[in-house]
Symmetry: C2
Subunit: 468 residues, 2 copies
C-alpha cells in the first residue's frame, strides 16, 4: 500500500507539471508522420500479430487511437492533397477519372491557389519542413518549397515510378534492387541523388526530421514526414533486414516504427513532447494484389484503390503527453483533412473563408473536452466520382469496384448497398431492403454535396511530352 | 526537463518496490477470465473500432498481449477441458466426432481421473473458485466442486441450451427473453434459480469473483471466471443496455470489460495486484452465422467451429504489474493449455508425470526472461480428428470445413493447403506447391503425435434418457 500511494503521488505530480507547461505554450508544435499504403490492421495496437510496433503502440497507450479515421482518397496523390489542404481532392483538381495519381510525365500539380497547412502556419510564424514523398507535382512551382515549406528533402512521386527494367509486374518487386527504379531524391528544388538509395531512405528521412526538430526546438514548428514506404518496392536499412516475423513487409513497418520512436525520443530529450502534437496515419489502405508484400486492412473489407472501408480507413494515432488523455480509443468519424483545420487552430491561423474547407477541428476530441462527432457525413470518392457516402453509422455504396485486378468488377447499385459500420465494420450485411428511409437521407446528403460542389479542373490528366 | 527527471525517478522507484514485493511472494494468486465465443478482433487493443474495452486495453498497455494464443478446440466443451487439464481434449475423452459438445441430455462429463488446475493448486494450499459457465458435465460427479473447486456459482452448460420456445433458429436470438431458455443457475451442486436471469448474470458472476478475491486476499487463491457471454443469446444488465456503438453484442463485451475492471480494482484495492496473474482469453472464435450478434476474428480467417485460425486463435492478455513488463506484444505460439502448466509452476505444484501434458510453462515468456517459442508444433483438432497442424510459422490444412451452415463445405486436401502464418496470418496464400519439404515435416509431426496418442474413450456421445 505504501508503494501504491507513492505511485499515485508521482502520477498526480506528473500530470500537474505536464499540464502547466502545455498551458503556457500558445503555438504547439506539430509533427505529422504519413505512411504510404499502410493498412488499418498493420500495427500491433490495431491487432497485427507479427508486426512489432512498440513505439506506435506506445503512442496509443499514452495517447489517442482513432478507430474511424479516414483518408480522403484511396490512392496517393488525392489523399496527400486533401491532408495538406483540408479539402476533398476534387475541390483542388487533384482527383481525376482519367488518371488516378500523378506520374513522371504529368504536367501539373497542386495549384498555387490552394493553401497548405505549411502555408497557413508559416504565416503565423511556424518553421516548416516537408520530408519524404511529395506526389503533388514535380515541376518547380508545385514542389513543397513553393507550397509553404521552408525546406524539402524527399522523392517527388511514388517509389515504384520510373521503372527501368522489364519483367513480370509483380516479380520485379519480390527481390527489388534500387537501380530498377530511376527515382530522384531532391533537396528543395534540386535532384541530389538518382536513383534514390531506397535502402537508407527511411533512416535518412528520420535523421532529417530529428535534425529539424532539434534545430527548431524553441518552436513553433511543423514537420510533415511522409515516408515513401511501405509502398512497393519494399526496402529497409541493413539493420532492419530480416528482423520481422512478417518478412520484408514487416521489416519495413518496424523501421517506420523505429522512425517514430526516434521522433518521440527527440521531442522528449528536447523537453518539448508536452508541447507537440505527434500524429501518425497513412494515405490509403493496403495494396492487396501484392500478396504478402502488401499489408492488411484488419477486419475491414477491401484495400487500396477502393471505396470499401479497407481502402480509406487508416490507423490514426495522436500523442501529446499531458494534453491528450492516455489510452483512449476514439471512435468518431475523423479524417486526414481534419489535420489541416486542427493544425491551423493550434497555430492560431485563420481558416480560409473564401473556399469550402472539409476538415474539422479535432482539438476538443483530442483533449477529451468533447466526445461528439465532428461531422454528420463523409463522402467516398473514387477519382472525381462519388462511389459511396456515409451518414452517421450508415454507409451506402452506389458503385463498388475492385482495384488493380484484371477484372475490377465495376458494379452500380440501385438501390445502393447499405451497411451500418458501427455494427458491421466489415461491411458484410447489406440492410438496404430494411432501410429505404436511410438510403433517402444519404441520397439527400449526396445531392446537397453535389449542389454545393465547386470543383477545380482536373489537374491530373494532362501529360508532358517528357518524363521528369 | 525538471519534470522529466522527476517522472523517471518515480518510475524507477515504482519498479523497485513492485518487484521486491513480488519476489517475496512464493505462491502468487491466479485469476483466469474466460469469455465465450469472443473473437480475436473484438477488443479495442486487437483493433475493434466500435467496441470500447478500456480495462482490457489497460491490461495490454500495462501487461502482455499475446498475438498467437490458441484455444485447443473451436467449440466450448473440449476447449474448457483443455484449459483446465492442460491436455488436448482428445486425451480426456472430451473431443468427439459424434457430438461436439455436451448437451442437457449428455450422460458423462470430465472424467474424475483428469486433474484440473484447481485440483493441483488445492493440493498446495490454494483457495479455488469456479464462477460462470462450466460445460464439462452437469451431473454431480462432474461439477466443479468435484473437480478441485471449493465452490461453484454458475450455469452448467451453454446459455442457449434447453430452449423452450419454438420459432426460427436465428430470430429467437434477435430479441431474446430470459424465459426462452430453461437454463439452471447453480451454487455448488444445487440449482438455485431456473431459468437463470441472464440479464444480471455477468454482474453477479463479477460480484461473486470480487467477493472471493477479497475474502482470500491473504492468498493464495485461484479464481476461474468463465463468463457465459458473448455466446448467443445476448443479455446485458440494464445499465449496459444500449451503451455500445456496436449494438447488443458490443454492450455485452463492454459489460465483460467492466467486469475485468472490477477485478483489477479489487486486486489493487486489496494491494495484491503485484502478486496476482490476471489472464483474459476466450474459449473459441466468433460465431459468424449470427450476423451482427456474432463477433469478429479481425484479420483472421474463419470462426467458431472451424480449424481456420479465426476459430481457435483468441485474445490473450496477461496483467501482473511489476512482474510482466508493460506494453509488450507477445507473438510466440501459446495456448490455453499453457495456463495449466503455468499455474502449477506458480503455485509450486508438481506437473503430473503419469500422463501427457500439452501445456507449457509460460512464466519465462511472461516475465520477459525468454523470447523463445515454448513449442515447435500445434495440432488443430475438430472433434477427435486432426484437421490441421502447425510447425513453426507453417500451417498445413489436411481437411477444411465451414461450420454451422447448411453447406459446410467439407474438403480433404492432398497435398494439404499450406500457409505461413507469420507472413500471412489471414491464410490467403497457399504455398503448398513451393514447399513439399515443409509439408513432409508437418506430416512427420502429425504421425509422431498420432503414434504417441493415448486417447480416452469418447465421453461426449453418450446420452441420458432424460434432460437435466
Amino acid at each position: 500500500m505504501r508503494c501504491f500511494f507513492l505511485i499515485v503521488s508521482c502520477l498526480i505530480f506528473f500530470e500537474g507539471c505536464a499540464l502547466s507547461e502545455a498551458q503556457t505554450a500558445d503555438q504547439p508544435n506539430i509533427v505529422i508522420v504519413f505512411a504510404d499504403d499502410l493498412g488499418y490492421g498493420d500495427l500491433g495496437t490495431y491487432g497485427h500479430p507479427t508486426i512489432m510496433t512498440p513505439h506506435l503502440d506506445r503512442m496509443a497507450a499514452e495517447g489517442m487511437k482513432f478507430s474511424q479515421f479516414y483518408s480522403a482518397a484511396s490512392v496517393c496523390t488525392p489523399s496527400r492533397a486533401a491532408l495538406l489542404t483540408g479539402r476533398l481532392p476534387v475541390r483542388s483538381g487533384m482527383a481525376s477519372d482519367a488518371r488516378r495519381v500523378l506520374f513522371p510525365d504529368s504536367k501539373y500539380g497542386l495549384p498555387a491557389e490552394e493553401i497548405t497547412i505549411a502555408e497557413a502556419l508559416k504565416e503565423v510564424g511556424y518553421a516548416t519542413a516537408a520530408i519524404g514523398k511529395w506526389h503533388l507535382g514535380h515541376h518547380d512551382q508545385y514542389l513543397p518549397t513553393n507550397h509553404g515549406f521552408d525546406s524539402y528533402y524527399g522523392i517527388p512521386y511514388s517509389n515504384d515510378m520510373n521503372r527501368v527494367v522489364g519483367g513480370q509486374w509483380k516479380e520485379i518487386f519480390w527481390e527489388p534492387k534500387v537501380e530498377f527504379w530511376n527515382v530522384p531524391l531532391m533537396r528543395d528544388l534540386e535532384i541530389i541523388e538518382r536513383p534514390a538509395d531506397q535502402t537508407t531512405i527511411t533512416k535518412r528521412y528520420t535523421e532529417e526530421t530529428v535534425e529539424f526538430i532539434r534545430e527548431n526546438k524553441d518552436g513553433p514548428f511543423f514537420a510533415y514526414l511522409a515516408h515513401s514506404l511501405p509502398h512497393v518496392p519494399l526496402f529497409t536499412a541493413e539493420e532492419f533486414n530480416g528482423v520481422s516475423r512478417r518478412g520484408l513487409y514487416g521489416d519495413v513497418i518496424e523501421e517506420i516504427d523505429w522512425s517514430v520512436g526516434q521522433i518521440m525520443q527527440a521531442l522528449e530529450e528536447e523537453g518539448i513532447a508536452d508541447n507537440t502534437l505527434l500524429f501518425f496515419t497513412s494515405d490509403n489502405g493496403p495494396w492487396l494484389t501484392f500478396d504478402t508484400q502488401g499489408g492488411s486492412a484488419g477486419l475491414l473489407r477491401g484495400g487500396k484503390g477502393m471505396t470499401w472501408d479497407g481502402g480509406m480507413r487508416e490507423p490514426g494515432l495522436a500523442w501529446w503527453p499531458g494534453t491528450i488523455p492516455a489510452g483512449v480509443v476514439q471512435p468518431i468519424v475523423a479524417s486526414t483533412m481534419d489535420l489541416f483545420t486542427t493544425a491551423l487552430a493550434m497555430g492560431g491561423a485563420d481558416v480560409p473563408d473564401d473556399r469550402i474547407i472539409d476538415g474539422k477541428n479535432l482539438l476538443p476530441a483530442l483533449t477529451g473536452e468533447s466526445a461528439e462527432e465532428v461531422r454528420d457525413s463523409y463522402i467516398y470518392y473514387r477519382g472525381a466520382t462519388i462511389y459511396a457516402a456515409r451518414k452517421g453509422p450508415w454507409k451506402a455504396h452506389f458503385i463498388t469496384q475492385w482495384a488493380y485486378e484484371s477484372d475490377n468488377q465495376y458494379m452500380e447499385h440501385d438501390p445502393p448497398l447499405l451497411y451500418n459500420l458501427d455494427l458491421d465494420p466489415s461491411e458484410q450485411y447489406d440492410i438496404a431492403a430494411d432501410h429505404p428511409e436511410i438510403i433517402q437521407e444519404i441520397r439527400d446528403v449526396v445531392k446537397m454535396h453535389q449542389d454545393n460542389m465547386v470543383a477545380r479542373d482536373d489537374q491530373l490528366a494532362a501529360r508532358d511530352s517528357t518524363h521528369f
